[in-house]
């Protein structure tokens, strides 16, 4: 599936929820259920320092596709990461570079994408795209 299709699928899933409680509960479930990152990659180098919660991101190529793994010490942040990983992992670097993140807004999590929100998520998306740029260069 393309990034666009996955994002639409996620938006569909979230549209079933009536209120923020259900959305957050689902996100927390996603955060809890996903084994996100191999312990050896939870290094200082892979750490994106948000103000409050820690976020680690690791990327590696699998053929011509980029695979992301990530983790956070805060469960809500981890849930959002799980959503981002689902949308962006296992995709071609160029597609990741071109993708937008408006779907986060559509699933009612806009506040988490504010650059002033101290959760490191904006930095995380930036980091995903930077990895994509770096690996795209490598593929070229």
């Amino acid at each position: 599936m393309s990034i666009q299709e996955i994002q639409e699928e996620i938006v569909d899933e979230f549209s079933m929820f009536d209120d923020w409680m259900q959305r957050y509960e689902y996100m927390i479930e996603l955060g809890k259920s996903l084994p996100l990152i191999d312990g050896q990659y939870k290094t200082e180098d892979n750490l994106i320092k948000g103000c409050q919660s820690k976020v680690w991101v690791h990327a590696e190529l699998d053929g011509d596709k980029l695979v992301f793994t990530a983790d956070s010490d805060a469960i809500i942040t981890k849930g959002i990461i799980a959503i981002l990983i689902r949308a962006f992992s296992n995709q071609k670097p160029q597609d990741i570079i071109d993708a937008d993140t408006a779907f986060i807004d559509e699933i009612g999590l806009k506040e988490h994408l504010s650059p002033t929100r101290a959760n490191g998520l904006v930095s995380m998306i930036k980091q995903l795209k930077l990895y994509a740029v770096a690996y795209q260069t490598q593929l070229n």
């Binding site: 923020w20 409680m21 957050y24 409050q52 919660s53 805060a74 469960i75 809500i76 942040t77 101290a118």
Partner: protein, 408 residues
């Protein structure tokens, strides 16, 4: 019901912001240690200034300038009276506590040499650590730290042991922003003076709860921010003993702080203007005065008593939640509760509480050494003011329970 002489519901009507909703829920504002809310009386003082007499001060011959100058200087006198400061010119208007600390730290550069020691407490805000580290870098002085115990109280025996004739300056907060501990500043000041060291007390977190008598304390410097005590942001005061303020060099050069200027030499203005370069936050200073009037009118004794009741009640209720640990269990505390729930990141709790309309602070509270001491990434901090109610405490407790259920 809590016993109080204060009519909280009437007081709450003074604060328009308390009527608003957040995320569809009535706002429960429990981030008062970060900034307090502003009563209508202070908002009116701000509006009145811009409506009627906005002008630059201390230089105009015209009437508006005179009115603004009078109002600004009246505010200085209100601050003097409130903190029982001996001389009006010992009150320096600043942009806030951080400004006050930096003014003193920079000024001390010329008084310190290699081998001198300066001392800070283990529970300081970064703003009362970094300027002194910078001072040490400039002068070669050494920074010593007064340790604290697990309750979040300074270990005073260690303090007395660390003090010696090389100690030139001691700085400590009156109240810890992260833990709420009220520090024994009388003892700290007296002991420092015995070895000839000066003392700066950061009063930012104390000012809204404790009316400090600066002459009785015999402190050398004391600094506060107006926005923690119902005033606006961007204004505060630094008190300095006259003898120190005369000795300290000016912090910034500019207009207002000079007596005479030629290209060969400038002579500085008398106190307090020597430290007030440039056009100050005139409206802010006047509003600071209005905020003191407002709080004085309610009464600091009544405020302290009621906030303590809120603190005791909230502490008791929160501790009924299994796995909840409070950081900062000093015997003497202001109405601040820092806590965590085992297995949950403070950021997650803060996020859920926000969805419920409850504003708390989460994170390291600009006091990373304290978090390192407890080996935690941060805490959830609820801080109460005199306009908070018992019902709001109940909402907090319910909110935390709900968050715990969702997150664990």
């Amino acid at each position: 019901m809590l016993q109080t002489a204060l009519d909280i519901q009437t007081i709450r009507k003074d604060f328009p912001i308390l009527n608003r909703e957040v995320n569809g829920q009535p706002l429960v504002y429990l981030d008062n240690a970060a900034t307090s809310q502003t009563p209508q009386q202070v908002i009116d003082a701000i509006v009145d200034y811009y409506h009627r007499y906005n002008a630059n001060i201390h230089r105009g011959v015209h009437s508006l300038s005179q009115e603004a100058t009078d109002a600004y200087e009246l505010a200085r006198q209100k601050i003097q009276k409130h903190f029982n400061i001996g001389k009006t010119h010992e009150v320096i208007f600043t942009s806030g506590t951080t400004h006050g600390i930096n003014l003193v730290a920079t000024g001390f550069t010329s008084f310190l040499k290699k081998g001198d020691e300066i001392m800070v407490s283990a529970m300081e805000h970064h703003s009362n650590i970094v300027p002194w580290q910078m001072l040490c870098e400039r002068t070669g002085a050494t920074l010593k730290v007064i340790p604290m115990n697990l309750d979040g109280e300074l270990i005073m025996e260690e303090y007395h042991r660390l003090l010696n004739d090389k100690t030139k300056l001691v700085f400590c907060n009156h109240v810890s922003n992260a833990l709420g501990t009220i520090n024994p500043i009388e003892e700290i000041i007296d002991a420092a003076h015995k070895v000839g060291a000066a003392v700066l007390i950061d009063g930012a977190q104390a000012a809204a709860h404790i009316k400090a008598d600066l002459q009785a304390l015999d402190v050398d410097f004391y600094t506060v921010s107006a926005h923690k005590m119902c005033g606006p942001t961007g204004v505060g005061m630094l008190y300095g003993k006259e003898e120190w303020l005369k000795k300290l060099p000016p912090y910034q050069g500019g207009g207002e702080m000079i007596a005479e200027v030629t290209f060969e030499k400038t002579t500085y203005a008398d106190l307090p203007h020597k430290f007030e370069a440039g056009t100050p936050n005139i409206c802010g200073g006047i509003a600071f005065g209005a905020a003191l009037d407002y709080m004085e009118n309610i009464g600091f004794d009544a405020i302290a008593q009621y906030e303590d009741e809120l603190l005791q009640y909230a502490t008791k209720q929160l501790l009924t939640i299994e796995g909840l640990r409070i950081y900062g269990t000093a015997k003497h505390k202001t109405s601040v509760i820092s806590f965590n729930i085992e297995g949950i990141h403070p950021y997650d709790i803060g996020t859920i509480l926000d969805k419920l309309g409850i504003a708390v602070r989460t994170g390291h509270h600009c006091a990373q050494p304290i978090m390192d001491f407890y080996k935690i990434p941060g805490t959830v901090r609820a801080s109460f003011s005199f306009y908070n109610t018992q019902e709001e405490v109940d909402k907090l407790v319910e909110g935390v329970k709900r968050a715990k259920k969702m997150l664990l």
